[in-house]
Symmetry: C2
Amino acid sequence: MAKTTTPPGADTASPSATALPAARRVTSYDVALLAGVSQSAVSRCFKPGASVSKATYARVMKAAASLDYIPNAAARSLITRRSNMVAVLISNTSNLHYPEVLSALSQQIARHGKRVLLFSLAQEADVAHALADVWQYQVDGAISVASLSDEHIVEFRRRGVPLVLLNRRAPGQVAHTVSCDQVQAARTLVSRLAAAGHRQFALIEGPTDSCTAQERRRGAWQRLTELGLPAPLVVTGQYDYASGGTGLREIIRQLGRVPDAVICASDVMAIGCLDCARHELALDVPGQLSVAGFDAVEPSNWLSYNLTTLRQPMQQMAAAAADLLVAQIDGRETEARGRLFSAQFIEGATARLAPLQPDMLAA
Amino acid sequence: MAKTTTPPGADTASPSATALPAARRVTSYDVALLAGVSQSAVSRCFKPGASVSKATYARVMKAAASLDYIPNAAARSLITRRSNMVAVLISNTSNLHYPEVLSALSQQIARHGKRVLLFSLAQEADVAHALADVWQYQVDGAISVASLSDEHIVEFRRRGVPLVLLNRRAPGQVAHTVSCDQVQAARTLVSRLAAAGHRQFALIEGPTDSCTAQERRRGAWQRLTELGLPAPLVVTGQYDYASGGTGLREIIRQLGRVPDAVICASDVMAIGCLDCARHELALDVPGQLSVAGFDAVEPSNWLSYNLTTLRQPMQQMAAAAADLLVAQIDGRETEARGRLFSAQFIEGATARLAPLQPDMLAA
DNA sequence: TTGTATGCGTTATCAA
DNA sequence: TTGATAACGCATACAA
């Protein structure tokens, strides 16, 4: 390895570790000087499809290596108007879903040679702050896994920053969107439960401002109505574990009895509901009560739960979002487009299900 | 105020959906022109502690607002040598731990007016690629929640990029570190289990290259030896759910019987172990077998598990890491420092525990 | 307090 | 293929 001057105390004894006093950065001029070429020649050597002779390329690369030269992305982006950064806006409320989404997005964005500038939104109020920074940092585009208001979406367009919404809708706006068909997913779930004889349904929803929750609700209602079943009892939760238990209690209180099936707008709530039913209310699930969730987060697959749920093809959705965004950035895609994925039904063992009938697929 | 040329469609009325063809960006010159001041005056207005008169400040801000002007961070960082970006390196293997760590880091870094450039490492091989980008993007510093080789750590110092390791050690290097005392945590756990009468221990470890796993192992061994207990049986897992079950089976196979206690190097493995014990082997936990984990991830707290585990004060650790990094960036902290936090013991209900004795604290 | 002039490190244009 | 030169958008030293 490079023996610089004095190998700074490698033993914990003497952390001399004096930070090098802002050593002047190595620039393309330094490399040019050492290689005996012009600065623009150096620049060209670091641009993929440039026109450089083998000889100069070799000389430049050798000099660059010996000086530890790395092009400065800030300077580059100033002139190319490309930062190779993509903003990812994500709200913490996604919770257990968060790592899967984020690492998938990060990977897919990296495939296109770009990196993720992360905006992790703890509260709704953070959106304004985050966006102010998004504009400053000159990102090439943004992917939002958080709810944005119409005004915010308009601002993206006005500022010419490509935007893709992942699992969110733009209420009054045309926007590029990648999502999973929640309506269809909820319809499928209801169909399969109804076919197995469930009649009294209850729903534990997410916060009403979440469009994912709204669509799941709409799909369930639609299908229940079509099947002539009684209207479901609806309570609202916060997508968290505790909401599952309190939701179930509330349902039983309002209904005066245990419903046939509880559909929860997230797996975590479904698990909370399940634990409450089994451990606190001593109910047999799925004997006395069927419980289903959405998202197929990792714990839903654990032996203690084996939850009936619907999986979103997140890796594919992330790839689609990244592709769609890059297409916009490259100007290949101008008109707003939406890509809709289908959820995969996971039978699990927390709901009584009838064997699959052909008409359910058509449902 | 004089509407000079044509303010680019500032009204939401006509979104005409056609992406504006790379409209020339609004710069500080445009603002200066409209406000009737010099460009440097505009610049000063956007610098916190600058010397500007009330009057010009107002004029400039008005002009800026009407033009939708936002300073260009790339240009700024070129001259200030501050990008206000912090690289966060994190490996996906942290899995359930990942969201907590990442959102805590993101928040804490944001407190210092900086943003997170995310490098989510799916494989060990990604490190080199990630680092190459870290150098390019001119980040102010980096926080690594992934294992870095000595060579990599040296490179940070050589390039003058401040680095803080979170829950990782630098084997042969002096480095700024924030971590949780895994040795002490493991010792405490063994002490409490031993005091309750457990004699035959087994460990399900993480990958041997993980230093966190190593420390947990060392602490457990130390304390077992001190207490004169038999050496534990050790098997290795991958930190995932499946490893818990296969680990337990392997332990029972090698031991010829069920051990008194299984200590797992992560909660997810502990949960896998627990589920296997209860649902597949029909063992009574903690009656016949005690199971404990590390990390206190959210599911460990669910009713089905109520796991005996140790919580790392992650929010505080993230804050410490951010503080330490920023101190380095600002040149306030030059000598390598390590901050060590203590884990909090969560009693849970998957292990038989004796009441807390004073000497355990000293252990 | 304000304006002028210069430089940050790169890419892009154009002539050689 | 190569080199001189002009941007890119901002911050800062210095003079006014």
